[in-house]
């Protein structure tokens, strides 16, 4: 038997050791992967709609880098504004609003993609520069964070995910009809009486909070947000967001848990970075989609 204790040493309850392992290590990790994978996928779905771009996703458009910059500012430069999570959310939102503003002046979705990718490169360069000037201790924790992992989420951080996950889904589902109409383009949606600007803003808020939250807690997570929306559209053969939002969440959650499990020593006999596993899983799917689309 082992004791489950609060931080002040108070014994909460007694459990057999396997249960302690489950409650303290396994379960938080699985829940983190489920919710982070799920909300990143909903973020990707909404971004693909708003930016009219099938390759839009939290990482591809550089939104994760926006969040990463905020984390780097906090961990490396010691700038704290209301905690890591809030900073990352603000970082992601600023980057998204910048892209939304740019997208008004661009005709081709490809250009937006290039701007997102280039912006991401610039931020990465900025972060690398910060790394050079930072202390060894801070650098170590930042590098570990930047590899991405679902295992470092503490039970108290898990609360954020448990509250925000359903909340973001709720907002998404509330606007699902408007998101459907927005698929026709912002001008056509507004002719049909939908306030496109407001609907897009809510989509951006959901995507930004989801990306900022999951990035600050689990590090930048690759590809889930891009591949899960496509898989859900392809499986359900629908455009309706009331179906696609839950489907993307479930598929994204499953992909993240699967990748996490495969990374934990099952595949290579060694623990792999979860982003490596995700890229290996997702990149071929995305390549297939691009080639199929391009005809």
């Amino acid at each position: 038997m082992a004791n489950v204790m609060l931080s002040n040493g108070l014994i909460l309850w007694q459990l057999p050791e396997w249960k302690v392992l489950l409650w303290q290590f396994r379960l938080p990790r699985v829940v983190a992967a489920l919710i982070a994978g799920g909300i990143l996928s909903v973020a990707g779905l909404l971004m693909q709609n708003v930016f009219k771009n099938p390759l839009a996703g939290p990482d591809v458009l550089g939104i994760s880098q926006g969040a990463s910059l905020a984390v780097a500012l906090s961990l490396l430069a010691g700038i704290h504004v209301g905690g890591l999570v809030l900073m990352a959310v603000i970082g992601a939102l600023i980057y998204l609003l910048f892209l939304l503003w740019m997208s008004k002046y661009l005709r081709s979705p490809i250009t937006l993609l290039l701007i997102g990718v280039m912006g991401g490169f610039m931020i990465s360069a900025f972060i690398s520069t910060m790394e050079v000037f930072s202390k060894a201790e801070a650098l170590k924790s930042f590098v570990l964070w930047s590899m991405g992992s679902f295992s470092k989420v503490s039970p108290s951080q898990l609360i954020y995910l448990l509250i925000m996950g359903p909340l973001l889904m709720g907002i998404g589902l509330w606007f699902s009809k408007s998101f459907d109409v927005l698929l026709l383009g912002r001008q056509k949606a507004s002719l049909l009486g939908v306030n496109s600007r407001r609907v897009m803003l809510f989509a951006i808020i959901v995507a930004g909070v989801a990306t900022g939250l999951s990035t600050s807690l689990c590090g930048p997570i690759a590809f889930v947000g891009l591949v899960a929306p496509h898989l859900s559209k392809w499986l359900l053969k629908t455009y309706q967001h009331k179906l696609l939002i839950p489907a993307s969440f479930i598929i994204g959650a499953s992909v993240a848990v699967l990748a996490d499990w495969l990374s934990s020593g099952v595949l290579a006999g060694a623990i792999l970075p979860v982003n490596a596993t995700l890229s290996i899983l997702a990149a071929p799917v995305i390549l297939y989609l691009i080639v199929k689309k391009a005809g």
């Binding site: 001008q187 056509k188 002719l191 009486g193 939908v194 306030n195 455009y239």
Partner: protein, 219 residues
């Protein structure tokens, strides 16, 4: 129904339309002709509220179009332009009702009017340009608002569809105000419509238009 008052529209700092004053009747078909870049599309976009005027107002039922709420505006005016890419998995019937209440009877009627019944269960994304244009026009028919603005609506239609489409429009124009832009005077002259021309930033009505007269005006 629709009145243009001292309307001026600039795009990118350039004056496109200037000092436009015109009163459209409550019903009837109006065809606006003009050369490429004359400002036909800009005028339609300004009337439906997508483009803000720099001076003057567009009045619909006595109120400025640009002050109406989105839902009020969408229940009075609709506008169709060129076919644009439609995302995958939207079937024709779903496309028609997107943004509206579903009404099975109305869907059937509209698909018959635009000869789309065979395409009923197909995805709009897989349509040819002409079929997509028909689908967009069908959406206009489905919405049934009192004012329709159509930007070169027959561009991609085959000849039989074109004749059929204009016959339907002439019928609809008995109860609606329909304003369409065209660039081909030969198509316009065959219609029972009032013909307007945009040239040198202004909108003029042609009295007793003849084909030669229009061609001279456009040159």
């Amino acid at each position: 129904m629709i009145a243009l008052k001292n309307l001026q529209v600039n795009l990118g700092g350039k004056v496109i339309l200037e000092d436009l004053n015109f009163q459209f009747e409550k019903t009837g078909l109006y065809v606006i002709l003009g050369n490429n870049g004359a400002g036909k599309t800009t005028l339609l976009k300004t009337i439906c509220g997508l483009q803000n005027p720099n001076h003057g107002i567009v009045e619909a039922e006595g109120k400025s179009v640009h002050q109406l709420s989105l839902s009020e505006r969408s229940s009075i005016i609709q506008y169709v332009d060129d076919p644009s890419p439609i995302p995958a998995f939207i079937k024709l019937t779903e496309y028609l009702t997107l943004g509206y209440q579903e009404d099975g009877m109305q869907i059937e009627t509209v698909m018959q009017q635009l000869q789309l019944v065979d395409l009923k269960d197909r995805e709009v994304a897989s349509f040819s340009r002409g079929q997509q244009q028909k689908a967009m026009l069908a959406k206009l028919f489905y919405g049934d608002q009192p004012v329709w603005l159509m930007d070169e609506p027959s561009n991609y239609l085959d000849y039989p569809s074109l004749l059929h489409f204009w016959a339907e429009i002439q019928e609809k124009a008995k109860q609606k105000l329909i304003i369409a832009t065209l660039h081909n005077p030969e198509e316009a002259i065959k219609l029972d419509a009032q013909i307007l021309i945009i040239e040198q930033k202004r909108l003029n009505k042609l009295e007793n238009p003849s084909l030669n007269g229009i061609i001279q005006e456009l040159n």
